[in-house]
């Protein structure tokens, strides 16, 4: 479709919308307007194959293999870049550039068979050498990969044939295929690596076309894609962080889809409007009230337990998130089959909270800091948590921080009592095995469980160990577990094939179309 026609609202239903807006005075123009619009739209309506997608943040650069910004993956994951494996819409690990693989008995050797006939967008062939290059680059000494830990267990990458590559691990890692599905592990080519930050060249169904920094980024269908061709011809990403502007852009139909809509208070209005659909999904973000386990008085498990019983999760979800979010009782995603419901460990019970504080020798409560990063779950949630804690005698001094400050003060220097943050990386319960991690949980038993987990590849054994790990941190009251962060997608009603959940930050356009 000619993009210039977009301004004419050439979509089913839009003729009626225009007419309704004009009101009764325009009644006698109705037939004229309708027929004109139909004529104008005739060419456009037949082939609706372009889409405008808005997300909140602009990617700082277009290199998913360095830098942690989720916006990079939101635009490029599965669209432009592909890895050996990938996440599907439900978070399952499926085949990517690797069409099959064999795992040795000892779990140390993975032999990947690559898809044939795959080319990069610059026309060069994707083969085993490119896989070796990508993995070696990510784990190199001077690598700036933000998730370097994903590659830590790789001992060697060997090219067996043009389409066969063998990865040897230094120790068994049950998460290896999962790790290779991350956006940070996509396959890149040595020929185009120098300009990847501004001109990303991948193997995906869409090729990067244009980036007007600060305004929009355009992708175009890759006609020589090795897999199933996508329905869309072109896709434009726009970046709108202001909630009011987001509402206006959707309402004015300037954008067709908004993934991660920033104004939850407006969602009912979109849901009630026949022009739109609202998809409420889950993310991998466990939102927690982080406690500094090495700092008084949070070094006392009784105090930590008292804090968790003082919190009414539903009040936070309703008050701060307008009902978007699922309560959690441990650091694990509730939509994961291995999730254990441990909410009973930390039920809202202010009486119990007060008596636990008295037992800990703090009958009059105490004062601590509550340092909040910018997202609304933290800023709005922080106010509610502060008042809930005040009810049991815990006074908080709230400090609002920018992300860069939060990373320095809270995350790196561990200068905080309480903080609220959503841990958005998938399957990140292993952060509790690192005593230096900012909340500083130090438990050898937990670390032993995770070591067993890493060495276990059979699903039943892994499930049991994961359940054990979830239970330990829940019963140790390491942090206050609040809710799984939701994600709302607002889209034009005709659009199909969008991801509802965000198993990883992605706007996968491979299966998206304008319906029939």
């Amino acid at each position: 479709m000619n993009p210039d026609l977009r301004g004419l609202n050439c979509r089913p239903g839009s003729v009626n919308t225009i007419i309704n807006k004009q009101g009764a005075i325009m009644h006698h123009f109705k037939r004229f307007a309708a027929s004109t619009a139909v004529v104008l739209c005739a060419s456009g309506a037949l082939a609706q194959d372009s889409i405008t997608v808005a997300i909140q943040l602009e990617p700082p650069n277009l290199d998913p293999t360095s830098g942690a910004a989720q916006a990079i993956d939101s635009v490029l994951y599965a669209n432009v870049f592909e890895g050996l494996t990938r996440f599907d819409a439900d978070g399952a690990i499926i085949r990517g550039l690797a069409q099959s693989w064999d795992i040795s008995e000892d779990g140390l050797t993975y032999t990947f068979n690559l898809a044939a006939g795959v080319t990069f967008h610059d026309g060069t062939t994707m083969d085993a050498e490119d896989v070796k290059f990508s993995l070696d680059r990510a784990r190199a000494e001077d690598s700036t990969n933000a998730q370097k830990a994903l590659f830590a267990d790789i001992a060697d990458v060997t090219v067996i044939g043009p389409l066969v590559v063998q990865v040897t691990l230094s120790k068994p890692n049950g998460m290896f295929l999962f790790n290779m599905a991350w956006g940070d592990a996509v396959i890149v080519a040595p020929e185009s690596i120098d300009t990847i930050a501004t001109n990303p060249v991948g193997t995906g169904p869409f090729a990067f076309a244009n980036w007007v920094q600060g305004d929009r980024l355009e992708l175009a269908r890759n006609d020589s894609y090795w897999g199933a061709a996508p329905a869309l011809e072109t896709a434009t990403f726009r970046f709108i962080s202001d909630p009011t502007a987001a509402f206006a852009a959707m309402m004015a139909e300037d954008v067709d889809v908004f993934v991660g809509f920033p104004a939850p208070e407006n969602l009912p209005q979109f849901a009630a409007d026949p022009r739109f659909q609202v998809l409420n999904g889950n993310t991998e973000g466990e939102t927690i009230l982080a406690m500094n386990n090495q700092r008084e008085p949070f070094d006392n498990p009784l105090v930590r337990r008292a804090v968790t019983h003082a919190i009414d999760r539903q009040a936070i979800i309703d008050g701060a998130m307008f009902g978007q979010g699922t309560p959690i009782g441990t650091h694990f995603a509730p939509h994961n089959p291995d999730y254990v419901d441990l909410l009973a460990n930390s039920q809202f019970d202010p009486e119990l909270s007060r008596s636990l504080l008295a037992e800990a020798g703090l009958p009059d409560g105490f004062t601590t800091t509550l340092k909040l990063p910018p997202p609304s779950y933290a800023r709005r949630g922080g106010e509610i948590i502060a008042s809930q804690l005040r009810a049991v005698g815990i006074e908080t001094e709230i400090t609002n921080l920018e992300w860069a400050q939060w990373i320095e003060e809270v995350f790196t220097n561990k200068d905080f009592g309480l903080s609220i943050v959503s841990h958005t990386e998938p399957m990140d319960i292993n952060i509790y095995a690192n005593p230096d991690y900012y909340f500083q949980y130090d438990n050898a038993d937990f670390r032993a469980v995770l070591e067993d987990l890493n060495a276990t590849t059979d699903p039943a054994g892994r499930s049991a160990l994961l359940a054990q790990a979830q239970t330990i941190i829940s019963e140790d009251y390491v942090n206050g577990y609040l809710f799984q962060l939701g994600v709302a997608t607002v889209a034009r009603a005709e659009i199909t094939g969008l991801w509802v959940n965000q198993p990883t930050a992605a706007v996968d356009l491979t299966g998206v179309s304008w319906g029939s």
Binding site: A146, T198, A249, D254
Partner: protein, 314 residues
């Protein structure tokens, strides 16, 4: 005149040097390590160290300051840490939104403010004067971002005459101007209100001057005297205000650029600060300071050319 110009040039250079030191110092003391921010919470310390080295952050402050200023003198504004593109390119792209927007808003505000101010002054105390002064009071009081939202609600969401934001680029000039119209109106309203008030009071001041009495004594009507003599003299304070407003509009449209998601200089600075892209913040702010200082320099020279008394004082 040459001595005056040289004197001004010396003070201009001194201002620029002081400004560069202040900007560099202020930006460097903002807490938050840029490398740690870019790599996020799962990054390993050695990865952060590698990125710091890549960005040149491990060098001493003095060396980094010297490299920054040295580069700028040669027209090299450095390389953005996050965008990985030259800062000069970023600025060049954004200036084509910010500059036309500022000019557009200024033109609108002048077009409204001049007639309104002149009319109010000529009908001093009358119903028209009271109405205009009431309206300008309101115009000064309304926050421009709120006005912007109302404009979007009415003209983008309900009437669909304009899109709610964004900028299509100058390939289609008509579309570009259309995209800048609502933001320009939102920006122009408070400016026009201020300008109309200044215009009116400046004119009224002139009406009490001796030369006005002389003009009336020569037989000119009130209106003729106002147009021929008062207006020309009243323009000096008005032009000064316009100059100040232009600098403000160029650098200060951050909120309006957010509301309309326009890719302008204000939004660039805003994003760069939150992403700790220090080199972009430093260079863009320095460029704005340079622009303001240059404008003042030119204004000084013009004043001196017009008014010999200023030259003598220097």
């Amino acid at each position: 005149m040459i001595r005056f110009t040289l004197g001004r040039l010396v003070s201009l250079t001194a201002s620029l040097i002081v400004a560069s030191i202040v900007i560099f110092a202020v930006v460097e003391v903002i807490p938050g390590d840029p490398a740690a921010f870019m790599l996020g919470v799962n990054a390993r310390p050695d990865t952060i160290a590698a990125l710091r080295a890549e960005m040149g952050l491990d060098e001493p402050l003095i060396a980094r300051y010297a490299a920054w200023v040295g580069g700028m003198v040669q027209g090299d504004f450095g390389m953005s840490w996050t965008y990985k593109t030259p800062v000069a390119t970023l600025i060049a792209d954004r200036i084509w939104v910010s500059l036309p927007l500022a000019i557009y808003a200024l033109a609108l505000s002048t077009l409204v403010a001049f007639p309104a101010g002149i009319y109010a002054a000529s009908r001093r105390g009358g119903a028209g004067d009271t109405a205009i002064m009431g309206a300008t009071q309101l115009g000064v009081a309304i926050p421009n971002f709120w006005f912007a939202m109302i404009l979007v609600l009415v003209f983008a969401i309900n009437l669909r005459w304009f899109s709610a934001g964004g900028f299509p680029g100058w390939a289609d000039p008509w579309a570009a101007i259309k995209a800048l119209t609502l933001p320009a109106i939102a920006l122009a309203l408070p400016q026009a209100a201020i300008l109309a008030r200044v215009m009116r009071s400046s004119l009224l001041d002139m009406l009490g001057e001796d030369f006005m009495r002389t003009a009336r004594a020569k037989g000119l009507t009130h209106r003729q005297a106002l147009w021929r003599h008062a207006l020309r003299n009243a323009l000096i304070p008005v032009l000064t205000i316009i100059g100040l407003q232009f600098s403000f509009l160029l650098a200060g449209a951050i909120i309006i650029e957010q509301v309309f998601f326009l890719p302008g200089l204000g939004r660039l600075i805003f994003q760069a600060i939150s992403a700790r892209d220090l080199i972009v913040v430093e260079s863009v702010v320095m460029l704005l300071v340079f622009t303001v200082i240059m404008v003042n320099f030119i204004v000084d020279l013009t004043y001196a050319a017009v008014d010999p008394r200023l030259r003598a004082r220097a």
